[in-house]
C-alpha cells in the first residue's frame, strides 16, 4: 500500500496510508460487473439446440475510512518540568462490505426451427410476496375490527 504524508508536522510526521488507489480499483471492479455477460450464461448445446440461461443480478458495496490524531503534553513523565513531554497520538481505520444477489429469470431456447423464451417463476419469492400481502391485509382488518382503543 502506498504511503503519503498528510501535511508535514500535522501528525508528527506520521504517514497515513493512501487508500485512494485501492478504492478506485474496487470501484472499477464494481463498474465492470455492469456487463451483458453477467446476465446471459454460456450456451448449453443439446443436439442442434442451444440453451442460454439468463439471470438478473444486483451488486452493491460501500466503504468508509477515517483517521485522526491528537497531541498534548505527558505530564506524568516529567515530574520536575511543569510543561511535560510533548506527545502525539494517531489512528485510523476503515471498512467496507458488499453483496451480490442473483436469480434466474428465463432460458432462451434456440433451435434451427426458431427461438423461444421460457420464463422461470421463483415460487419461493412469489409465496413470500403472498404471505406479506396477506399479513398486511390481516393486520389492517384486525385493527379496523378491534375499534378505537380507549
Amino acid at each position: 500500500m502506498d504511503k503519503v504524508v498528510s501535511s508535514p508536522g500535522d501528525a508528527g510526521g506520521f504517514e497515513f496510508p493512501d487508500t485512494t488507489s485501492d478504492v478506485n480499483k474496487t470501484m472499477e471492479a464494481l463498474i465492470e460487473t455492469a456487463n451483458v455477460d453477467r446476465v446471459y450464461g454460456e450456451p448449453i448445446e443439446v443436439g442442434d439446440t442451444k440453451i442460454i440461461p439468463t439471470s438478473e443480478n444486483l451488486t452493491f458495496m460501500g466503504f468508509g475510512f477515517g483517521s485522526g490524531y491528537g497531541q498534548g503534553m505527558n505530564e506524568e513523565d516529567n515530574e520536575e518540568d511543569d510543561e511535560g513531554t510533548p506527545m502525539v497520538g494517531v489512528g485510523g481505520g476503515g471498512g467496507g462490505g458488499g453483496r451480490t444477489f442473483s436469480r434466474p429469470v428465463a432460458v432462451v431456447i434456440a433451435s434451427p426451427e426458431g427461438v423461444r423464451v421460457e420464463p422461470i417463476a421463483d415460487r419461493t419469492k412469489v409465496i413470500m410476496a403472498a404471505i406479506t400481502a396477506a399479513g398486511f391485509m390481516a393486520s389492517m382488518v384486525f385493527r379496523m375490527t378491534r375499534g378505537p382503543q380507549s
Binding site: V36, T54, F63, A121
Partner: protein, 93 residues
C-alpha cells in the same frame, strides 16, 4: 462538470448461431455511484434477444420477468384490498 450518479446502459452480447439463425442477447444495466464515491450499486437485467435469419430480417423476443410481475401484482392486490376493506369499514360505521 458533476459526475452522473445514475447511469443506464443497454448493451448487446456475443451472438449465438443456431442453424440459419443468429441470436443477439441484449441486457440493460443501471450503475449508481454513491455520493462521495464510497460505494455503488450495479443492477443487470435481461431485456430480450434479437433473432436474425439468413435473409437479414430481425425479430425481437422479450425476456419477461414473471417472478417480478407476480410479486408486484400480489403486493399491489394486498394494498388495494386493504384500502377497500378500510373504506368499507369506514362507511358501515
Amino acid at each position: 462538470m458533476a459526475e452522473r450518479i445514475l447511469i443506464q446502459q443497454t448493451s448487446s452480447g456475443e451472438p449465438v448461431s443456431v442453424g440459419d439463425l443468429t441470436v443477439y442477447p441484449v441486457a440493460r444495466s443501471y450503475r449508481m455511484i454513491f455520493p462521495g464515491g464510497q460505494g455503488g450499486m450495479v443492477w443487470n437485467k435481461p431485456l430480450g434477444v434479437i433473432v436474425e435469419d439468413s435473409r437479414g430480417s430481425r425479430q425481437t423476443i422479450p425476456v419477461p420477468d414473471v417472478t417480478r410481475r407476480l410479486q408486484v401484482a400480489i403486493l399491489a392486490a394486498g394494498f388495494i384490498g386493504s384500502l377497500l376493506a378500510w373504506l368499507i369499514v369506514k362507511r358501515t360505521r
